[in-house]
Amino acid sequence: MLEFKNVTKQYRSGMFGTHLTKAVDDVSFCVGENERLGLLGESGCGKSTIAQLAMKLLKPSKGSIEYNGKNIKHMSRSEMKNYRKNVQIIFQNPQQVFNPRMKFRETISEPVRIYNLASSPEEEKKIISEHMEMFGLPEELFDRYPQEISGGQAQRIAIMRILMLKPEIIIADEPTTMLDVSVQAQILELLKEVMDKNNITLIFVSHDLDVVRAMCKRIMVIKDGQVVEQGSVDDIFDRPENEYTRMLVDSLKE
């Protein structure tokens, strides 16, 4: 469904832009329907860059990203809108991804309006409150600003907002790293439940081996922007082939 073909993202740095830094180096992979792919790697290895490339928040320097066989670079306005609806992202810092001067009522209703999910204001209200209920969020949160609620609640709202659009793919960019341990488990459970119920493809980006093992079926290990190994969860954890992967897995066992 979503395919990366030899994607490279490089930045020029230095005083005259002579120095090239490769954040993502020749990465190719493919996710199919209802798949769970984990991107595993230490911080700074380019995981988040891959997530942002997939969202077209960044443009690849080389290679192409294809969605259902169509390069996202060459999509028309309406195709792009469809793509944005079907591919959604969860960021790691839930409290900063909402506009600090907008109440949640407004923030949440924005996607409903952009994609014309509701034909009337009453229906819009209904859609939103149904989802709020489904996620166990009290309606009073509507009249709050992002800085007035907890990180866990904000992340729930972020996931809820995404689910309203009924996407095909969700990219979760370290969705639990900024949260308390107790809340982490809740959010992961929620995410898992939502995936199973709606047959959504998940690309889960994390540095936490345990979390990736729990959430995903296939894993790609990334180091310095390159894919060093990929395989099923069992393969990676029980029979790691690459030196770096072995080191990661061993560190977990200790």
């Binding site: 928040l57 960021f91 900063q96 506009n99 001067r101 924005e110």
Partner: protein
Amino acid sequence: MKKRRITKKIIKRVILFFIAMFVLSVVVFFLARLAPGDPLQAFYGEALDTMDESQIEAARQRLGLDDNLFVQYFKWLGGALHGDFGLSLKYKMKVQNVVNPLIGNTLGLGITAYCVVFALAIVLATVAALHEDDWLDKIICKVGTATYYIPSFWLGVVLVLIFSVNLGWFPSSGAYDVGKQGDIGNRIQHMILPLIVMIASHFWYYAYMIRNKLLDEFRKDYVLLAKAKGLTRRQIVWKHCLRNVAPTIVSIMAIAIPHVISGTVVVEAVFGYPGIGNLAVESAKYHDYNMLMMTVLLTGAFVFIASFVAQTVNEEIDPRMKVTKEIRW
């Protein structure tokens, strides 16, 4: 409940205003008299040299300059509270009568310049921020910086040289031609050159501030999410970023009021434009105490009112200010 809070707030600000004006008047009154020089020089000019001791003493008494400083201040205060701000030593008439016809000139020039400056600044800042690091942004930034650093007295003289002396399109000085006091077209013609200088020397300072604020805003995470949500660039800028930067722009606009007003001083001097700025400088030079008090208090009152208005507007558009206030109390 809400209404009561607003009236309470307004009363509080009015009281604050009077306290501030009182303090300002005290400071200006005593500072002006600490400066060396003789106010009689302004009143009598050359004639002072031919007057003898007793005549000078009598003159001092007549003008109320022989009293103790505190007595002088309270005499002035008493008059001011009744709307009488005393006699101008230089013009030998009531201060209000000198100031009144000039206020309109300065306000007209200042307010027009202020509006154009901010309209231009906001538009240019948004365009530049949207095209960050593009050729368009680079051109705007470079031209803006260059204009900002041209000294306004020099620019004024050059403009006069080009447009009045050589081309003869605009008059070089004054606010209107003799006998054409009521002719608006004539006044506008006189205002154009001073206006250009005012705008050129002010707009970039604010445009650059607003541009940077916008760029800060563009780098925030919620913009990424808004983009991922599927909002277009224009929607993000209008609905999210500009709205969030608006309180900052309002604060900048409030702080800008004294800055732009002080800008009129130089321009009025270069173009011989009859206004308050020029008057204030002259009154300080000639020890025209009552006139100085009047001009300073006028500008002071203007600045205070402007900042109070800005604060109120700010609280209304930025919900966070109210929240933090509730916590504090």
